[in-house]
């Protein structure tokens, strides 16, 4: 079975009432990068995942997890 990196990015972002553009700016990437991560089009690097988690006041493992491990 192929493992996938899932995330709760959209839910957490909406919890903080942030738009994709707001989060993108905080992290220093484009809005489309946040969009593609939320839509599971691509998996972010560890560096970007840590930056996103920090900006959403979450631990990275609470925000990202491997499919089948939840």
């Amino acid at each position: 079975m192929t493992e996938r990196l899932l995330n709760a990015l959209r839910a957490e972002r909406e919890r903080l009432s942030l738009t994709q553009a707001d989060l993108a700016e905080r992290v220093g990437v484009s809005r489309k990068t946040i969009n593609t991560i939320e839509n599971l089009v691509f998996s972010p690097s560890a560096l970007l995942a840590l930056k996103i988690a920090r900006n959403l006041d979450k631990r990275v493992e609470d925000l990202f997890w491997i499919s089948g491990e939840d």
Binding site: V29, R31, K32, T33, N35, T36, P44
Partner: protein, 139 residues
């Protein structure tokens, strides 16, 4: 609210994606047209090369400030770029195989084969990059 830099990056990113698709399509159309003629001469290749090089430099944000360039070439764009390069590479290989097989049924020189292989590679890489970027921007 988005900052001016983020807004500009968003706008430039859209323009870059559209420009890549248009440029790929124009290149494909002009190269296809030349197949019927005597093939592309050195001057044509120089002009094509310069146009593509200028586009790539503009698209990489080389003439923009560091912050804008950073957003334009972020991880998402890097993934699209790597994918499109891979698509271009595999298409070139596949076209080379087709060109090899065609030598058994049609007479054509190495110059024609190189023109076909390069055109397919460059055009498919440009178009796939543009499409990937457009799809990524869709919510």
């Amino acid at each position: 609210m988005q900052s001016v830099v983020a807004e500009r990056a968003e706008r430039l990113s859209k323009h870059r994606a559209i420009a890549a698709i248009i440029m790929g399509a124009i290149l494909a159309a002009t190269q296809t047209q030349r197949m019927d003629a005597s093939g592309a001469g050195p001057l044509t290749w120089i002009i094509t090369g310069v146009v593509v090089a200028i586009f790539l430099l503009w698209a990489s944000g080389l003439f923009r400030n560091t912050a804008l360039r950073g957003i334009l070439n972020d991880e998402g764009s890097d993934v699209s770029r790597r994918r499109s390069l891979m698509i271009g590479f595999w298409n070139m290989l596949a076209t080379a195989v087709v060109c090899y097989i065609l030598t058994y049924v049609k007479d054509y020189g190495p110059r024609d084969a190189i023109q076909i292989i390069m055109s397919v590679g460059i055009c498919s890489a440009l178009i796939s990059f543009g499409v990937a970027e457009r799809v990524s921007a869709r919510q």
